[in-house]
Symmetry: C2
Subunit: 317 residues, 2 copies
Amino acid sequence: MATPAILALSGGVGGARLCTGLADVLPPEALHIACNVADDFRHLGLTICPDIDTVLYNLSGRNDPAQGWGLAGESWQVLEALAELDAPTWFRLGDRDLATHLFRAGRLADGASLSTVTAELAERLGIGARLYPVTEQPLATRVDTDDGELPFQEYFVRRQCQPRVRGFRFAGLEAARLQPQLAALARPGALDAVIICPSNPFVSVDPILLVEDFWQRLRDTGAPVAAISPIIGGRAVKGPAGKMLAELNLPVTALGVAQWYATRYPGLVSVFALDEEDAALAAEVENLGMRALVVPTWMRSREDKQVLARACLDGLR
Amino acid sequence: MATPAILALSGGVGGARLCTGLADVLPPEALHIACNVADDFRHLGLTICPDIDTVLYNLSGRNDPAQGWGLAGESWQVLEALAELDAPTWFRLGDRDLATHLFRAGRLADGASLSTVTAELAERLGIGARLYPVTEQPLATRVDTDDGELPFQEYFVRRQCQPRVRGFRFAGLEAARLQPQLAALARPGALDAVIICPSNPFVSVDPILLVEDFWQRLRDTGAPVAAISPIIGGRAVKGPAGKMLAELNLPVTALGVAQWYATRYPGLVSVFALDEEDAALAAEVENLGMRALVVPTWMRSREDKQVLARACLDGLR
């Protein structure tokens, strides 16, 4: 039997956790990961790719399990020295994390593409799965809020998601081309399954699915597509997805997420995974034309991640 | 009496030491420092300015007195993490030093000029003297060696000055414009004195004096010019100046340095300071048309720096 090809679409923390589970239960060469780049930004002259790095750190077992982002055992010498210079410190750059950004900055300055640098980092960190930025072109989430339009990191880190959200825009979307290896995977017969990780639908998954109508290409492959709810029992496991659902007048439940995908990407998602705590919503999810998969979706331990990964893969058979 | 205006031309360690002495004995607004930028280079996406930073660190009392470059009490977390990524570590970037480079990278990315960033760093480090890069344009020392032409840091750090030197070239010199505040100082009546610090004549002082014929402009101001020998008793206090003199078939003495300046910049240097250890060379120095100033030039303590600074200023009266 040929190696299966599974494509995971991932943002940061939740996506990275499920990718870790998928990497544990799949042969290394089977797992392809399309990473969100719309929260990438330039800071202190560096190109920072928070979602790619969170996936890299999780897959290599170097992530800080407590805070979700960054590296375990991090130190903060550079940040302290930046503070002494009155330089911006609102984005918390750890010393070891900085090495990743500097490696990337050096390679990008050499002329390497973001795809190449991402592959090099994955290889140096001993990761077998393939990671791709969804696009090589600049793509930047702008958050439309009651305080005006904000760059994503300004909203997310500096303003701590306080401003009320009215919508999102992805600057650069028209010009962004799908990363070539992802474009090759989005052809009939190339993929066995697609997994939309439990990432933020608005600021992690949308800016992946919208690049060159990636979602239509994936739907047209005929490969089954599972999406996992990032909302459990009316709350996001991590991040502002719950607050955003409420501010966009959507139900702050797994059903709200399922509705968003069903409306925005008709015919794409075939299986929708929601937590056992939300089993009562399964019938309404199925009314949207998706098969509901009720499984434990809260990933705390490594085993949790593997269990959810296996459940999704089995549910897509 | 109006505030005097003293211009020091400085490379790295030796220059930074004398600048510290000058800053101690002059009113803060009197001291202007033109820094060499021809050993600046791009590394890991950052613009590294070793001589400017050495002067900044010395003037703010943050320098590592033992090794001459870098900061006291430095840590190396980022460098260790870079090593784990198999990233280049031949240029030893300390954590606190990195904060300077990141601050600069961020401001340059904002569109600030190198002059502006240098002034900002000086101000944030509490330095009263004015520091200027000799030019805003790219200027890069290329070392012609028996192993071919090498970029300066490749020769200096990576190859540890091992290859035999045949000459030097300053890439970008034709297009480089003198930094505007330095151009304004190099006008008759603007300067009371010029001090060529005990820096390497070939790779620190030449790429300052050659920018837009800075040396002719300075000579034509009529201000007295002192040069201090970086060679004491046949050896450079720090760095490859001695090795370079030998490989260029010049005497490896203070006299060799005096000959270099007298030949290359006729009529520029009025006073040449050499160490008491080299007092026997004073007559030959004077034969070159310079007044010889025999003073203690080895700067170990803060007091040594002040004594040499005062001796030079007094010698120029």
